[in-house]
Symmetry: C2
Subunit: 144 residues, 2 copies
Amino acid sequence: MVVKQRKFSKLRQAHHREKAEDYVEMIQELLGKQGEARLTDIAKQFGVSTVTAHKIVARLQRERLIASKPYRALFLTSKGKKMATQSKHRHEIVYRFLRSLGVPENVAQVDAEGIEHHVSPKTLSIFQRFLKRNVNRNQPLSPD
Amino acid sequence: MVVKQRKFSKLRQAHHREKAEDYVEMIQELLGKQGEARLTDIAKQFGVSTVTAHKIVARLQRERLIASKPYRALFLTSKGKKMATQSKHRHEIVYRFLRSLGVPENVAQVDAEGIEHHVSPKTLSIFQRFLKRNVNRNQPLSPD
DNA sequence: TCAAAAATTTAGCCTTGGCTAAATTTCGGC
DNA sequence: GCCGAAATTTAGCCAAGGCTAAATTTTTGA
Ligand SMILES: [Mn+2]
Ligand SMILES: [Mn+2]
Ligand SMILES: [Mn+2]
Ligand SMILES: [Mn+2]
């Protein structure tokens, strides 16, 4: 009984982390690609209003993942950089794992965006091992 | 650009469906196991207060997935049954897929609870094909 | 330079999903 | 049949994440 409860409480925790992970990952990407991360670009990427993006960023500033001065571009704290790097890494593995199974590019992109947040370290390392074993096959296991 | 937006909008849709899927699945399970689905049992299983469970059930009644008379046990509408059956099926495949890769039981349970909601039909059918191919191996691909 | 445009922030609204406290209804045992 | 316990519902609080409208600040270009 208590086992099942923990299962769902873990799910709720994962949901709380999700937005944080997606946002810091996006900010790191924008910093790399354009040199700076502006609120408008972030909102555009996520397909939400700047107001929504602003509120989420404000929460992540309270949580010391993001830093910025008013009306200025956004930066990641060291805590934020660490989360971004780890999330990006996990996201990549999940995406490449799906691709290696034969999931089409656009489907794998959408599915990985959700799945990534629910893959535990143990499962991730198993995905990695699977990728390594299939590294020299050019064909996916289940071609379309 | 718009591709990325759709990716996240799909993610938000998935989140909206998640609670619905978990609840109808749970109700179907309780109906099978105990003959009826009471609010207290549902709340216990999810590890939330009966008040929280009640509010979610009320929403799902508005959405015509659940039906009941006040102070009475809960039932699934035909729409709810359909969702429950499909969700259960997808959940099972995701769980068995993880297990077949060598993910330990308790980890697979937790991860599948989150992952299931983000697996598209295309990815699911690829998981199924993978399972069929590995059906006669007693050993998982990546043993612990 | 300085006015218009763009970007950011604030105010205020909504829904969902958490909670506790309290009211109401149903159930069980005597 | 009734009383107390259990279950359900209602009321009211909170935070997150969605929105539009409006205020504020920064940037841009004539
Ligand atoms: Mn990601
Ligand atoms: Mn994501
Ligand atoms: Mn499920
Ligand atoms: Mn689930």
